[in-house]
C-alpha cells in the first residue's frame, strides 16, 4: 500500500500522460518511460504488487514491433527508401522507408509509456481506492463494481475446483465443446451465489433506504435533460453552423449543468469511509513536481527540443538540458518512496 494520497498519484499520472503525448522526440520518450520504470521499481520493492497477466516488457516489445510494422506498411513518406513495391498493389504499394519504420516505433513507444504509467497507478493504489474514485452519484455502479471485484478471486478459485473435479472424472479439454462442462457449473454456481448475496444484502437492509432517484419530476433529472439538450445544441452549432464561440459556450454550459446535477446527486448519497487517507506534505510535493514538469513542457522555449520528426529524412534527435531536468520531476514519487520511513507516515 502506497503512502501517497490517491489524488497525488492521479496528478503524477496526468503529468506523465501529458508529457508523453506532447513529445515525439525519442530521447524524451525514453526518459519519461525510464522515470516511470523507476517509480514502478520503487513501488515493487515496497509491497507485494499484483501480478500482471502479461509481463510488461514482453508486451512492450510486441506493441513497438506491431506499431512499427503497421506504419512501415501503410505510410509511404520519407526519403530513405529501403525497397519499393509496385504502385498497382492497393494499400501496400509504394516505397517502404526507414523513416516510416522509425516513426512507427516512436508511436509504439508512446503507447508503451501510457501502459506503463497506468500500470504504476494500478500498482500504487489498491483496487478499493480505485473504486472509491467512482463518483458518489453513481453509487449503485460502485457497489456492483466492488461486488464484482471481490467475486473475481472466488470465481477463479471456483473455476479451479470445477476443473479438478472434472479431471477426476476423466474430462479432458480437447476442443471448444469440452469447455462446456467447465463453464456451465461456473455460471450456475455464480448465479447461486448471487442469489445468496441478494438475500444477505436484503437481510442487512440494503435498498430499504431510497437514496437514488426520486419519483416524478426529479429536479436533478430535469437538469440532466437540460444539460444534455444544451450539449447537443452546442455540438450542432459547432458542427453545422461553425459558430465557434456560440458552440463552445453552449457546450460549456451544458457540461456545467450536467456536472452540477451529478454533484448534487452525489451529495444526496452519504458515504462513510472506514479509514481516511491523510493528506501529507509528500502529496503536495508530488503535485508540485508534476505541475513543474508540465509547466516547463508547455513553455514555448521547449517546443523546439520536444519537436522531432523522422520525416522527410532521418536525423538524430536533440535534447535540451532544461526540459530534461524538468522531466526528472516525474521521479518524485520514487524518491519519496525510497525515503526512510518515518512515524508521521504511518497510519493504521
Amino acid at each position: 500500500v502506497s503512502r501517497l494520497h490517491p489524488r497525488a498519484w492521479i496528478a503524477w499520472l496526468a503529468a506523465a500522460i501529458f508529457t508523453l503525448s506532447l513529445s515525439r522526440n525519442p530521447v524524451y520518450l525514453l526518459l519519461i518511460i525510464l522515470c516511470i520504470a523507476v517509480v514502478s521499481r520503487a513501488l515493487r520493492s515496497q509491497a507485494e504488487t499484483p501480478v500482471l497477466p502479461l509481463p510488461l516488457l514482453r508486451l512492450s516489445l510486441v506493441i513497438i514491433t506491431l506499431s512499427a510494422l503497421f506504419n512501415f506498411v501503410t505510410a509511404h513518406f520519407g526519403q530513405t527508401v529501403l525497397f519499393t513495391l509496385p504502385d498497382g498493389i492497393p494499400l501496400l504499394g509504394g516505397p517502404y522507408t526507414l523513416e516510416a519504420l522509425v516513426f512507427g516505433m516512436v508511436n509504439g513507444l508512446v503507447l508503451v509509456g501510457f501502459l506503463a504509467a497506468f500500470n504504476v497507478l494500478y500498482q500504487a493504489l489498491p483496487t478499493q481506492a480505485l473504486i472509491h474514485m467512482i463518483p458518489r452519484a453513481l453509487y449503485p455502479i460502485a457497489v456492483v463494481v466492488s461486488i464484482a471485484v471481490s467475486f473475481v478471486p472466488a470465481t477463479l478459485a471456483q473455476f479451479q475446483q470445477i476443473r479438478e473435479a472434472q479431471m477426476m472424472r476423466g474430462h479432458r479439454v480437447r476442443g471448444l465443446r469440452d469447455w462446456l462442462p467447465l463453464f456451465m457449473p461456473l455460471l450456475v454456481g455464480g448465479l447461486e451465489r448471487a442469489f445468496q448475496l441478494a438475500e444477505a444484502m436484503t437481510a442487512r437492509g440494503f435498498g430499504s433506504l431510497s437514496v437514488g432517484q426520486r419519483a416524478g419530476l426529479d429536479p436533478l433529472r430535469v437538469a440532466l435533460v437540460v444539460g444534455l439538450t444544451t450539449l447537443l445544441a452546442g455540438l450542432l452549432v459547432l458542427l453545422f453552423w461553425q459558430q465557434e464561440v456560440a458552440g463552445w459556450v453552449l457546450v460549456a454550459l451544458g457540461g456545467g449543468v450536467l456536472l452540477m446535477a451529478l454533484r448534487r446527486q452525489g451529495q444526496r448519497v452519504r458515504r462513510t469511509v472506514y479509514r481516511r487517507q491523510p493528506w501529507t506534505g509528500s502529496d503536495g510535493l508530488v503535485i508540485a513536481a508534476a505541475a513543474f514538469t508540465v509547466g516547463v513542457y508547455v513553455l514555448p522555449a521547449s517546443r523546439g527540443a520536444l519537436a522531432w520528426s523522422p520525416y522527410p529524412q532521418l536525423t538524430w534527435p536533440g535534447a535540451d538540458p532544461a526540459t530534461v531536468l524538468a522531466t526528472l520531476g516525474l521521479l518524485t514519487p520514487a524518491v519519496l518512496l525510497a525515503w526512510p520511513r518515518t512515524e508521521s507516515f504511518e497510519h493504521g
Binding site: T74, F77, V251, P312
Partner: protein, 761 residues
C-alpha cells in the same frame, strides 16, 4: 429508442406491425442521405484529370501550375505541390504534413521550427487553401491527407493568419490555370500567360521552337479583361489520344497549330506546323521567357520516359506587328540531354525530382507589381466556370420522396384496415393520451421503513408519466450525442460538405464521457434493488474472469469470449442490464488486469451499446416467428453475436479514425463528401481491421452455437428464481397515513419472499 424498454414479454405481446412502412421509411432516409452525399460529389467532371495550383510567395510573386493527376485522377495535396517545381520542406504530424518552406520562402525545418515565424503575433506561415465555388476555403487538414481531384485548385499563400484562417492567394479559377481540354481529350499544351493587373503592358510573346532559335511570330497575347480566347497550341496526336502519363512508347506526330485570335490585332498570324515526334528518354520543356521580368516561366511536361523531339517544318516569320520592346515569351522545345537554355535553371532542376504520379502540365510564375486586392475594382475575379460544377451523380432526391410517400400510403392503409385509425378512437385517444410505453410489472411501492427518510420510494410507479418522459429524453439525448460524436465525420460530410468538422478529439472525448456519465446515472436507477445488484456483480465477475483468461492466453486476432455473455444478459434480462453488463465488464476487467487507460471509456461505451442492442434479437425472432428455446433462436443469436462483433470493431475504430493520418485514400478529410467519407472508412477498415475482426465474429458465432443453448437455459431459470419480491413489514400507522394511496396489503413478515414466476425483472 423503443428498444430500451423492450423486454421479452413485451415483444411477445406486441405485434411487430407496420414493418413494411418502417422499412420503406428507412430506405427513404438512406436515399436522402445518398442524395445529399451525391450532390457533394457533383464537382469534378473529367478534365483530363488535371488540377491547378496557385502559390503566392507573399512578396508579390505568384506561381501557378496545372498539374496532371495521373491515371487515377487523384493525388494528395502534397504530391500536387511537389509537382509544382519547387523544393518543399514538410513536417509530418498526426494532422498531416505541415508545409514549412516552398522554394525560398519559409522556415528551414528541421533546423528551425516549422512555424518559425509563428512564435508571436502576427503568425506568418504557409496557409493551405482550396478553391470552392469561386472562393478560397482554408483547409483544415494537411496537404498529405487532402485528396486533390480533377478540377480542383490548390492555393498556397505565405502570410499572416491564425488557426482558423490564413492568407489566401489571388483568386484564380481552374480554367484560368488549365485551359479547358479539347473535346477530343487531346492533351493541350496551352501556355496561358495571364497578366494580372489590367494596366500591365501587353506581353506579346513569340514562340520559338528550339533549336532553330528563330523568333516565331505566333500567338498574340491578349490581356485579361478582354476575354479573348487565349492562344492555344494544340497537339494533335496522330495514333490515338492517350493520357499524358501513358506517353511512353508511342510515336507521335502532332501538328502544332497555335491559333491566335486577337481582336485588337487581326494581323498576320502565320500558322506553323511543327511535327514533333516522341522518342524515349527525352523530355520536353517549354520555357516562357518574359524579358520584362526576371522570373522565367517554366513549362515542363514530365513524362517519365517520353519526350519530344521537335522538327520545325516551317521557318518562322515575325508576324506580330506590335512593338518590339514589349515583353516576349519564348517557347523552347528542347530534347533533353542537351542543355536547355532557360532563364531559370533552378526551376527546371526542381521540376525533375521524383514526382511519381502527378506531372506538371503547365506552369507559370508571374511577378505582380501591385499585390491584388480582391475587394478592389480591378480585381480579376473571373466568372466561375459553371461547367466544372455540373452534377454528374444520379439525383436520389425524387426517388427518396417517392419512397417516403409510398411508406406513408402503405402505413396509413394498413392502419385503417386494422382499425387503428377510427376517428372516434383517435379523439378518445387524444383525450386520454399517454406515451405508449411497454407495460410494466405493477410493483407495489416500497414504503419507507424509517420515518426519518423523507424521499419517495425508489421504484417509480406505473402512473409516473413525467418520470418516464424524462427517462426517454435522457436516453434519446445521450444516444444522439454519442452517435453524433462518433459519426461526425460522416454527418458533417453529408450536411455541410464544404466545412471542415470541428477537429477536436478533446471535445468529442469530453462529450462522450459526459454522456456516458449521464447514461450510467439514468440506467443505474434500475439497479437499486439488492437482487439486481448482486446478479449483475456476479455476472460481471464471471465475465471478467473470462476476459482474464483471454488476456493470459491470447486467442487468434480479435477473438474474445466476453461478448457472448454480454449479449445473452441483455437478451434475457433486458437492455439496461445488458448495458451495465457490457460497460462494467470492461471496467472491472481493466481493474483486475491493469488495463486502465484512455481507451477505457470508449470500450465501455461500445460494449455497453452491444448489451443495450441485444434485445433486438427478440425483434428478429418475432420476424421469423421463432419460439424461445428453439434452434432458430440460437441461430439468430449467433448471427446477432457475429454482427455485434463486427459492430464493435467498426465503432471502436471510429473513435480514433478521424484523427489518424496515413495514405490519403484511407483517412478522413474534411470536405470530401459523404459517399467519399464512407468509402474511405470502408477502405481503411478493410485494410487494417477486417481480418482482426473476422476472428471476433467467428469466435462469437462459435461460442454462441456451442454454449448458447445451455447458458440461455441457465439464465432463464435464474430469471424465474429471481422474480421474487421482498415485502417489508407494514409500516407503523403514522407512516401509513403519509402514503395513503398505497394499497392495503396483508401484513407480511419482513423479508418474506413471494415468488412470481415467469416475470421479468
Amino acid at each position: 429508442m423503443n428498444l430500451l424498454r423492450l423486454s421479452p414479454q413485451d415483444l411477445r405481446q406486441r405485434n411487430v406491425r407496420l414493418l413494411w412502412p418502417r422499412a420503406l421509411l428507412w430506405v427513404a432516409l438512406l436515399l436522402i442521405a445518398a442524395a445529399t452525399g451525391g450532390t457533394t460529389q457533383a464537382q469534378g467532371p473529367e478534365q483530363g484529370a488535371r488540377a491547378g495550383i496557385v502559390i503566392d510567395f507573399g512578396d508579390g510573386m505568384v506561381h501557378t501550375a496545372c498539374v496532371d493527376l495521373g491515371a487515377d485522377g487523384q493525388a494528395t495535396g502534397e504530391e500536387v505541390l511537389a509537382a509544382a517545381s519547387f523544393d518543399v520542406l514538410i513536417e509530418y504530424s498526426p494532422m498531416g504534413g505541415a508545409v514549412c518552406k516552398i522554394g525560398r520562402q519559409g522556415c528551414n525545418f528541421p533546423g528551425q521550427p516549422c512555424w518559425c515565424q509563428c512564435m508571436s503575433s502576427p503568425c506568418v506561415y504557409w496557409a493551405y487553401n482550396y478553391l470552392q465555388d469561386g472562393q478560397w476555403v482554408y483547409a483544415t487538414v494537411g496537404a498529405s491527407i487532402r485528396t486533390v481531384r480533377a478540377g480542383d485548385v490548390e492555393g498556397w499563400a505565405w502570410g499572416a493568419g491564425s488557426l482558423t484562417q490564413g492568407a489566401t492567394p489571388p483568386l484564380v479559377t481552374f480554367s484560368q490555370i488549365c485551359a479547358p481540354a479539347a473535346p477530343t481529350d487531346t492533351p493541350t499544351a496551352t501556355p496561358t500567360w495571364t497578366p494580372w493587373p489590367t494596366n500591365t503592358p501587353q506581353p506579346t510573346p513569340t514562340w520559338t521552337p528550339w533549336p532553330t532559335n528563330t523568333p516565331q511570330p505566333t500567338p498574340t497575347w491578349t490581356p485579361w479583361p478582354t476575354h479573348t480566347p487565349q492562344p492555344t497550341a494544340t497537339w494533335t496526336p496522330v495514333p490515338s489520344p492517350a493520357p499524358l502519363s501513358a506517353l511512353t512508347t508511342e510515336t507521335w506526330t502532332p501538328t502544332w497549330s497555335p491559333q491566335t485570335i486577337s481582336t485588337d490585332t487581326p494581323t498576320a498570324t502565320p500558322t506553323e506546323t511543327v511535327t514533333p515526334t516522341w522518342t524515349p528518354t527525352n523530355q520536353l520543356s517549354l520555357t516562357l521567357l518574359s524579358p520584362e521580368t526576371a522570373a522565367g516561366q517554366t513549362e515542363s511536361l514530365i513524362a517519365p520516359t517520353a519526350a519530344l523531339a521537335v522538327t520545325a517544318t516551317e521557318p518562322a516569320g515575325r508576324a506580330s506587328g506590335e512593338d518590339e520592346a514589349q515583353p516576349q515569351a519564348v517557347a523552347q522545345v528542347a530534347p533533353s540531354g542537351t542543355p536547355t537554355p532557360t532563364a531559370t535553371p533552378q526551376a527546371l532542376a526542381a521540376a525533375l525530382p521524383a514526382a511519381p504520379r502527378p506531372s506538371v502540365y503547365r506552369d507559370s510564375t508571374a511577378s505582380m507589381p501591385p499585390r491584388l486586392d480582391p475587394s478592389a475594382g480591378n480585381s480579376p475575379v473571373w466568372p466561375a466556370d459553371r461547367a466544372l460544377l455540373t452534377t454528374t451523380s444520379p439525383d436520389y432526391l425524387p426517388l427518396a420522396l417517392l419512397t417516403l410517400a409510398l411508406a406513408a400510403v402503405i402505413g396509413l392503409t394498413r392502419a385503417f384496415r386494422r382499425g387503428h385509425l377510427h376517428l372516434a378512437a383517435i379523439g378518445r385517444g387524444l383525450a386520454t393520451w399517454r406515451p405508449r410505453l411497454p407495460a410494466r410489472r405493477p410493483v407495489p411501492a416500497l414504503p419507507p421503513v424509517s420515518s426519518r427518510v423523507s424521499s419517495l420510494p425508489a421504484v417509480t410507479a406505473r402512473s409516473d408519466t413525467p418520470a418516464r418522459l424524462l427517462s426517454w429524453a435522457i436516453y434519446s439525448l445521450t444516444a444522439g450525442i454519442g452517435l453524433l460524436a462518433l459519426l461526425h465525420p460522416f454527418v458533417a460530410a453529408a450536411i455541410r460538405p464544404a466545412a471542415g468538422a470541428v477537429n477536436t478529439p478533446l471535445l468529442m472525448t469530453v462529450l462522450v464521457a459526459l454522456c456516458f456519465l449521464a447514461l450510467l446515472f439514468e440506467v443505474q436507477g434500475q439497479a437499486v434493488s439488492a437482487k439486481i445488484i448482486a446478479l449483475l456483480g456476479v455476472l460481471v465477475a464471471i465475465n471478467s474472469v473470462l476476459r482474464f483468461v483471454e488476456v493470459s492466453i491470447p486467442g487468434p486476432g480479435g477473438f474474445t469470449p466476453i461478448f457472448f455473455l454480454i449479449i445473452l444478459t441483455g437478451y434475457v434480462y433486458g437492455a439496461r442490464l445488458g448495458f451495465l453488463m457490457g460497460a462494467l465488464t470492461l471496467l472491472v476487467s481493466a481493474l483486475i488486469t491493469g488495463g486502465i487507460g484512455p481507451w477505457l471509456p470508449g470500450q465501455m461505451f461500445t460494449a455497453g451499446w452491444m448489451g443495450l442492442l441485444a434485445p433486438l434479437a427478440w425483434l428478429l425472432l418475432r420476424l421469423v416467428r421463432g419460439q424461445p428455446g428453439s434452434r432458430t433462436e440460437l441461430v439468430l443469436l449467433a448471427i446477432f453475436a457475429g454482427v455485434g462483433g463486427l459492430f464493435f470493431g467498426i465503432v471502436i475504430n471510429l473513435w480514433f479514425w478521424p484523427y489518424m493520418t496515413g495514405p490519403a485514400d484511407q483517412y478522413w478529410q474534411a470536405g470530401v463528401g459523404f459517399a467519399e467519407t464512407v468509402r474511405r472508412y470502408a477502405v481503411y477498415y478493410l485494410a487494417t481491421s477486417l481480418l482482426w475482426d473476422v476472428f471476433a465474429v467467428a469466435g462469437n458465432v462459435l461460442l454462441m452455437m456451442v454454449f448458447g443453448a445451455a447458458t440461455l437455459a441457465a439464465l432463464r431459470r435464474f430469471q424465474q428464481r429471481f422474480a421474487f419480491e421482498y415485502r417489508p413489514e407494514e409500516p407503523a400507522p403514522r407512516e401509513a397515513k403519509a402514503v395513503p394511496e398505497r394499497p392495503a396489503l396483508a401484513p407480511q413478515p419482513v423479508g418474506r419472499m413471494q415468488r412470481r414466476s415467469g416475470e421479468s425483472m
